[in-house]
């Protein structure tokens, strides 16, 4: 039955060509879990920073979910474009991670372009 069930979407794996070499190691030696978690926290924040900075926020098509109904502002400009939605998603994730890193990592410095949201929407 499992094999017959239709998958919701295509594989989440990217091709080799989609790799984004960041210069940071992607294999770790056998260190304890705290050190691993610390590194993953930092590498994910760095990864999001890079995406926001390069305006590379929209994932490849096969990973996208169906678009919601368009929403327009009073000037008739669409406010929930793909770029806007995915940028917000990344900013929200980064916010959570920065909060966590600030609490748990000594000497953690938030990214230069990071602003703590004054109010959290949704």
């Amino acid at each position: 039955a499992r094999a017959e069930r239709k998958r919701k979407r295509k594989s989440r794996w990217g091709d080799q060509e989609e790799n984004e070499p960041s210069g940071l190691p992607t294999t770790l030696p056998r260190v304890d879990d705290d050190k691993k978690n610390e590194y993953i926290l930092k590498i994910r924040i760095e990864e999001i920073n890079r995406k926001l900075r390069n305006n590379d926020v929209v994932p490849p098509e096969r990973l996208r979910s169906p678009s919601p109904e368009p929403v327009y502002d009073s000037h008739g400009k669409r406010v929930n474009t793909r770029e806007v939605r995915y940028r917000k998603k990344l900013e929200d994730e980064r916010h959570k991670l920065v909060e966590q890193a600030t609490k748990t990592l000594p000497n953690f410095v938030p990214p230069a372009d990071y602003r703590r949201p004054t109010k959290l929407q949704d």
Binding site: R2, R5, R7, K8, R9, S11, R12, W13, G14, Q16, E18, N19, E20, P21, S22, P25, T26, T27, L28, P29, R30, V31, K36, Y39, I40, I43, R44, E47, P59, P60, L63, E93
Partner: protein, 110 residues
């Protein structure tokens, strides 16, 4: 200041990190999808014995939740998989991989 996995770090069990966030593992169907995506890809590099993808539990701290553990038949298979998968993208996130002791795999994760 990590320098990456070395030859003497190699075991037959991989820990794959930064691929999923716990919330994605809550939904049964999404969990199944993620499981199949990973099992299919990991099988390309050697004989997979079994896998563990710990799921979040309300109000509990689940060890290894957010990581994926894959046990291979041999160290060589696991090593080949690590070299091939680390740095690849999964759901638009960069895969980070390391080796863990088989004993830890058996005892610490569900």
């Amino acid at each position: 200041p990590f320098t990456g996995a070395k030859e003497d770090d190699v075991t037959n069990v991989l820990e794959l990190m930064n691929m999923v966030v716990p919330e994605e593992l809550e939904d049964d169907e999404e969990y199944q999808d993620i499981w199949e995506d990973i099992a299919e890809e990991c099988g390309k590099f050697g004989q997979v014995v079994d896998m563990k993808i710990p799921r979040p539990k309300k109000g509990q701290d689940v060890p290894g939740c957010g990581s994926i553990f894959v046990r291979y038949q041999s160290k060589d298979d696991a090593n080949a998989a690590l070299r091939a998968l680390a740095g690849r993208r999964f759901a638009d996130r960069t895969v980070v991989a390391s080796f863990i002791d088989e004993e830890k795999y058996t005892n610490d994760y569900v």
